[in-house]
Structure formats: structure tokens, C-alpha cells
């Protein structure tokens, strides 16, 4: 129970001090809204909006979580307040789950913005909502853990941002968000399947439009595997690099 008290306190503090700050809320809302608007103006039919929705959801989560977590953890390490967490009687795995919990929640909230906007312009009937929610959770988790992986690799806040973009921008084009994987050059296609976002976006496409490339029974476990793998790998690096 005492670990749960600490867990809740860490998530609540991070949500309050980092994620639910006006600049982040506006970023979380405006960014997906602007993308939706841009596509809406460009689209000719409501069907296009529905076709673009999975990509915008996945992108909103990716951008909302990766750099935020990497930046907050790097910032706390620089100010040494992260040491306070390492010195608390909380197992490292649970501590890092708490630390990433806020970012995962924030990522899921970011996903709501395009869904709400789309709901006003297109008919969302027939959407497989359990699959959408499941994929949003797993995309948020993998993107956050990618942020964690980045934060372990860097020392400065600006490095965290730069390194995040190093991963994020290629993912925008390679993961089938807006350009179908089948439209990519043949030599790039295997690379697409090395990114977790490909599987998350594919689940969303299957759930929203029924046009996923892979079956859900395959995408979900692969995405889950990415999430667990990234978390465990980051944990191992933290033990090696931060507990000297």
C-alpha cells in the first residue's frame, strides 16, 4: 500500500507540474486540431477525414509523449531532484512506471482531441472502440518508453529534444501514418516494421476504417512486446548508468 501512495504521488505531481500546464494543454489540443483542420480543408469528402484519423491520433500521441518525458526526466536529473526518487524506498521498476505514468495519461488525453474534432465532422459509427482504446494505450506506452530510452541516453535537455526528433520524424513517414507502407520504396518497407508505431497505427486503421495491413491478433502482441521490451531495456540502462 505504501508503494501505491508513492506511485500516486509521483504521477499526480508530474501531471500537475509538467503535463497539465497551460502550454502543454494548448499544445496537446492545438497541434492535433491544426492537423485535423489542415486535412479537413484539403479533403474533399468526409471519408478522407476518417481515413486520416488513425494517422493524426497516432501522431498526436507520439509527439505528446516522447519529448515531454525525455525532457522532464533529463531536467530532473540536471536539477538532481531525480536523485530524491532514486533514494526513496520504491523499487526501480515501480518508480519508472510511476514516472512514465503521467506521460502515458497525457498521451492518451492528446489522442482524444482529434477524435472529438472528427466526431463533429464525420460519422464515426462502426468504429471498433475497444481496439481504438487498446491501441491508444499501447501507442502511448511505447512512445513514452521511447522517451525514457532517450532520457537515459542524454545529459542535456536540448539533447533530449534533438534525439526525440531523430526518432519521431522518420516515424511520421515510415510508419504508415499518412503514406501507406505499400507506397514506400521496397528497401524502406522492412524498416517500417522495426518501429512500434507501425503496429499501433495499423490497429487504429483496422479499428476505424477496417483497412489494416496486419491482423489485430498479431499487431497487439507485437506492440505489447515493444512496450515491455523498451521499458525493460531502459530499466537496465538506468541501473547501469544512474545507479553508478
Amino acid at each position: 500500500m505504501s508503494s501505491w501512495t508513492a506511485f500516486r504521488a509521483i504521477v499526480a505531481k508530474d501531471m500537475k507540474t509538467y503535463y497539465l500546464k497551460p502550454p502543454n494543454i494548448s499544445w496537446g489540443l492545438i497541434f492535433p486540431f491544426a492537423w485535423m483542420l489542415m486535412f479537413y480543408l484539403r479533403s474533399r469528402t468526409p471519408l478522407d477525414i476518417r481515413a486520416l484519423l488513425p494517422g493524426v491520433i497516432a501522431m498526436s500521441i507520439l509527439f505528446g509523449t516522447t519529448s515531454m518525458l525525455a525532457v522532464t526526466i533529463t531536467f530532473e536529473r540536471r536539477s538532481r531532484s531525480f536523485e530524491r526518487l532514486l533514494l526513496a524506498p520504491l523499487e526501480l521498476g515501480l518508480l519508472m512506471l510511476a514516472k512514465t505514468g503521467g506521460a502515458i495519461l497525457f498521451g492518451m488525453l492528446n489522442a482524444l482531441a482529434p477524435i472529438v474534432v472528427a466526431a463533429f465532422v464525420v460519422d464515426l459509427s462502426g468504429v471498433l472502440w475497444p481496439a481504438v482504446i487498446g491501441s491508444i494505450l499501447l501507442i502511448a506506452a511505447t512512445s513514452t518508453f521511447l522517451g525514457l530510452f532517450i532520457s537515459v541516453a542524454v545529459h542535456e535537455v536540448f539533447e533530449a529534444q534533438t534525439f526525440s526528433n531523430f526518432f519521431r520524424f522518420p516515424m511520421l513517414f515510415l510508419c504508415g501514418l499518412f503514406i501507406p507502407i505499400s507506397a514506400l520504396p521496397v528497401f524502406l518497407r522492412p524498416l517500417s516494421f522495426a518501429f512500434p508505431l507501425t503496429y499501433g497505427a495499423d490497429i487504429l486503421k483496422a479499428a476505424v476504417n477496417g483497412d489494416g495491413l496486419l491482423p489485430l491478433w498479431l499487431s497487439f502482441p507485437v506492440l505489447l512486446l515493444f512496450a515491455v521490451g523498451l521499458f525493460l531495456f531502459s530499466l537496465r540502462n538506468i541501473k547501469r548508468k544512474w545507479v553508478l
Binding site: 505504501s2 505531481k13 507540474t17 538532481r80 533514494l87 526513496a88 524506498p89 523499487e91 553508478l244
Partner: protein, 341 residues
């Protein structure tokens, strides 16, 4: 608690009224960072209820030792015990019994004083009602009540240090680690922090203190370890350290008027003693053995002078430190001035 009281508590405990049960023990602790050995075979124990001082210059291995003992770093070799239980490989349970105050405040700039304290209490699993009550009590005790709603970033250095100490004890640890608690803060805050340390200790908290202020170690600590280049070169109570290095007895007499004639007559009468006349009002007698006061006073009176004060001159901790470590105390002073800047 005033500094005077601090001194009296310290003196009482140095006189032997000290619980001897072991709180913490380190056996042959070694920490290597590639080619550098930061801690080299440190073995010591900290008694329950004492203030144990780690005294050494910058880079001596003080902070690394604290990091090892608190689980923030892993020892290359060696073992650590808290209350008799080994925790070297699994420090998490032991951390619940520790309070840690690092050399630089590590609280959250964006949280206010009250929020910082309650957050730190929550990390130790303390429920909401209890942690809020404790936070209020600590803010009162540390004279920070008026700043409880102020963001931590707006605190002065002294206030930051006080709040960091409060955060370190909010879960009522059995042992409190203080890394250079008074470095870089103003004199008044430093005095207040020293008094708080003594007060905490008088309520039963064992304190492990690192410092490079010799006078701070002398004033606060019941036992002191000298650490240089990662090696512990001496451990003992102030009394023990002094005794070990008191090779001669030095007696200083304050006399109304000391003439050369009086000094000469004392030299003739007491050939065992070396008699010095540092100035017109003082005589200093040095002996390999003890000095008998009464015949000496009689001899001075016969010489037509009157002794107004007689005191035994003991070596200072600074002198002992210099003798043991070979490090000039001036160097330590320069270092701490540099650190302040």
C-alpha cells in the same frame, strides 16, 4: 537550540555518555570509477544516537561514501549493514530508514515548501493526513511557516537548505545523512542548521555528517573519521584524537607583569619544564610529563607576581588533522572559500 547548548550536548556525549549499539557498519568499502579509486577500503561503524563526522578535503571521497551508504551508488566491493542487516545488494528496504540531505538542495523548484514536504513524505508511503500534519510541524520547527506557500525556487540558500533537511527527516528516519550541510550559506543560517542537527540528534536521530569545516566537526560530532584520497586515516572521538596527538603538556599562565627575571628564576627552579615568555603578560610552560600547578604558583608569588589565569593548552582538531593527514588546514580553507564562490 543555541550553539552553547549544542556544545554542552556535544561535550556530554564526548565524555562517554553515549549509546554504543551499532546503527551502521561498512566493511572494507571500495568504489572504483575506471582508473580512479574514490573510496579505498573504508571500514567504520556509526553508533546509534551519535553524530558521526566524515572530515576531509574536496575530492577525498566523502560524497561517494554517502552515495554508497545510501544506495545511490554500488560499491565495487565491500559490505554495508544497517541495524545489523546487510543491505549491500538490496538497499531499498534500508532506504526506508534513512534520511538523506545532499550537498545541493534537490527539491522541486516548481513546488512550494509545503508541497515539497508532503511529496517527499508520500514517497515513503505516509498517508495524506499524517504527511500534511508533519509538514506543518516541520515548517514551524524550521521557522519556514511564513514561506510555506512560496515556490522553492524563490527561497534563499539558507531556507533551501533548511527545507531540504526538513524533507530528509519528514519520514522520521533512524539515520540522517547530511552532506556538507552548511557549505555555501550565510553564518546565521549555518548556526541555525547546526543547532537543528544537535536538536534532531538529541531526539534520538543518528547523524552521519560530512564536512570540510574542521570547527564544525569539532563542535558537533561525537566521533570523527578523517578521510583523505578515499582512505580513512583515523577514527575516534574528539578526546581520543586529541589524546593520541598530545605529546606534551602545555600550561599557559596569565600574569600581571612578567619580567625576564621571573622567567629565569622559574627555569632554574623547574628545570624539567621549558619556560617561554610569549609576551609581557604570559608565561608558557612545556613539559614531556605532567606539570604541578601549586609549586609553580608559589614560585610565581615569591617572584612578586600574581597569576590571574592558568589554562592547559590542548592541540586543536585542526592541528591533529594536519598532523594525521599531512594536509595543511589552509588548503581546506581555500577549498571551502572556492566552493562558496
Amino acid at each position: 537550540m543555541s550553539d552553547q547548548r549544542a556544545e554542552s550536548v556535544s561535550a556530554r556525549l564526548q565524555d562517554g555518555v553515549r549509546p554504543a549499539a551499532e546503527m551502521l557498519r561498512a566493511d572494507n568499502l571500495v568504489k572504483r570509477f575506471e582508473a580512479v579509486t574514490a573510496v579505498n577500503g573504508a571500514s567504520f561503524s556509526v553508533h546509534r544516537g551519535e553524530i558521526f563526522g566524515f572530515l576531509g578535503p574536496n575530492g577525498a571521497g566523502k560524497t561517494t561514501t554517502i552515495n554508497l551508504l545510501t544506495g545511490l551508488a554500488r560499491p565495487t566491493s565491500g559490505t554495508m549493514f544497517l541495524e545489523g542487516r546487510e543491505y549491500t545488494a538490496h538497499p531499498k528496504q534500508a532506504q526506508a530508514l534513512m534520511g538523506i540531505v545532499p550537498d545541493e538542495s534537490n527539491l522541486y523548484d516548481e513546488l512550494d515548501g509545503f508541497q515539497n514536504l508532503t511529496f517527499c513524505a508520500a514517497l515513503y508511503g505516509i498517508d495524506k493526513t499524517e504527511r500534511e500534519a508533519r509538514a506543518r510541524a516541520l515548517l514551524e520547527q524550521f521557522s519556514l511557516k511564513q514561506a510555506e506557500k512560496r515556490p522553492f525556487r524563490a527561497y534563499s540558500k539558507g531556507m533551501k537548505r533548511k527545507l531540504t533537511i526538513a524533507a530528509g527527516i519528514i519520514h522520521r528516519p533512524k539515520i540522517l545523512f547530511l552532506d556538507e550541510p552548511t557549505t555555501g550559506i550565510d553564518v546565521a543560517s549555518a548556526r541555525q542548521i547546526r543547532s537543528l542537527i544537535v536538536e534532531l540528534n538529541s531526539h534520538g536521530t543518528t547523524v552521519f555528517l560530512t564536512t570540510h569545516y574542521i570547527e564544525e566537526a569539532e563542535r558537533l560530532c561525537h566521533r570523527i573519521a578523517f578521510i583523505v584520497g578515499g582512505r580513512l586515516v583515523r577514527i575516534g572521538s574528539l578526546e581520543e584524537l586529541m589524546k593520541e596527538h598530545q605529546q606534551e603538556t602545555v600550561l599557559e599562565l596569565a600574569v600581571e607583569q612578567v619580567g625576564a627575571k621571573l622567567a629565569d628564576s622559574l627555569r632554574q627552579r623547574f628545570p624539567r619544564y621549558a619556560v617561554h615568555r610569549p609576551d609581557e603578560r604570559h608565561l608558557r610552560l612545556v613539559s614531556d610529563g605532567s606539570i604541578e600547578l601549586l609549586p609553580l604558583l608559589g614560585a610565581v608569588a615569591e617572584g612578586g607576581a600574581e597569576v590571574t589565569e592558568a589554562k592547559l593548552i590542548r592541540p586543536t582538531l585542526e592541528e591533529v588533522f594536519v598532523r594525521v593527514t599531512g594536509i595543511e588546514s589552509g588548503l581546506m580553507r581555500q577549498e571551502r572559500e572556492g566552493k562558496k564562490k
